[in-house]
Symmetry: C2
């Protein structure tokens, strides 16, 4: 049984988060760099949008009376929108206003003092959905996803939560050419290694600027370096 020794970075989202364990994925990169400092917990749920995500998050994030016994979530990334933005009548579709409300609800579950999940020490990063290459992925719409990304940016400003704006970063890095997105998206929707590198860099930039105290360079190893053992022999 695993003792509660390491704080964690929790990645919450859809298939793009679930896929973050691939070589070069943002989960893999975080885990490698935070080794011996924080564990990375991937709670990506393929196919989910914000409506289905809320009841899952009620199980994934510990309630206050449990929090003493479980790992402290120092950083939580919330990354939905790729499925919410699927056009109606796709059953994954969540209307834009509802998407915004659901995201705000997820944030408030952690940030509101009256929430049973209140965790004031948990830092949050919101992530915008990546731009869609609709030439490759015809069940998604470029402009719809763009407008869902805007919701995340607006919400981040309104709630004073940093946003990793993957949509804009990838769009700009593709020269604002939809077909050029294939550099980052292997199927028009899901990220390849280059895509995840963009995400990882945005997250680390936010950590450096907004949450420097949890940058891996600032954290001590949980267990002592081996030379500590050599010296006390």
């Amino acid at each position: 049984m695993a003792a509660n020794t390491h704080d964690v970075i929790m990645l919450f989202g859809d298939s793009i988060t679930q896929g973050g364990w691939v070589p070069g994925g943002f989960g893999q990169r975080l885990a490698e760099n935070y080794a011996r400092k924080m564990d990375v917990i991937n709670r990506g749920l393929s196919g989910y949008q914000t409506k289905w995500a809320i009841p899952m998050f009620e199980q994934i994030f510990a309630m206050q009376h449990q929090q003493l016994h479980v790992p402290k979530v120092q950083l939580l990334t919330i990354w939905f929108g790729a499925n919410d933005a699927a056009p109606f009548p796709n059953r994954q579709h969540v209307p834009r206003d509802q998407y915004r409300e659901n995201l705000e609800h997820l944030v408030n579950m952690v940030r509101s003092p009256t929430s049973p999940y209140y965790s004031p020490s948990t830092r949050i990063i919101l992530i915008t959905p990546p731009p869609v290459n609709s030439h490759q992925r015809q069940d998604r719409n470029f402009d719809a996803t763009k407008s869902y990304a805007e919701v995340v940016n607006e919400l981040g400003t309104a709630l004073a939560i940093p946003v990793a704006d993957v949509w804009t970063a990838m769009w700009d890095a593709s020269g604002r050419d939809e077909r050029a997105l294939e550099k980052f998206l292997h199927d028009g929707l899901h990220l390849n290694e280059a895509g995840y590198e963009v995400v990882y860099n945005l997250i680390m930039k936010i950590i450096e600027e907004k949450y420097p105290e949890i940058h891996y360079d600032r954290l001590e190893m949980v267990f002592p370096p081996y030379w500590a053992n050599v010296e006390v022999e």
Copy 2:
């Protein structure tokens, strides 16, 4: 705070375990394949040998009275020897007999009903240290590491615990040519992606043959697939 929703695979060892998060590493591969089924917890401690590992394991593995509150360790890999086998007077050196006793102690912490860490549901895999390419790594000795690998194989037989015999698998795959080990070891001691692939394959073969009930193909996802939500709408 992270609720206790997923059982875990715990990787316990030295720098070769700690490095398991690299792209293609055995931690990365396990995490990718076990996504939504089990979490992978990397407790690799660079530079450690079995003597220094025991007091750390007393903190890493939960005691019985804590076990209800913490994730269940379904699989534990124990992988030391690369540092134990460093020749005296290297301060990491652990004599061969002591190495065997320490490994047995680690196993008994989990398997002995009288141990405060007793966890009968935790499956164990022992891993032999990889062969050393002493042309590249002059502070290690080829034959010494070989004899420490033999200890692990003997102990596995004696205790009826499956052994992932990385030493033999890499040695054979190198045509029993020490210089050819560079195919698997980037510095003569630590594994590259091809080296970790050998390790991952040995672990998955043991899971298939000895612990098939925890093969990722046999495990349900902890949270329902998204189409379960679609259907109940």
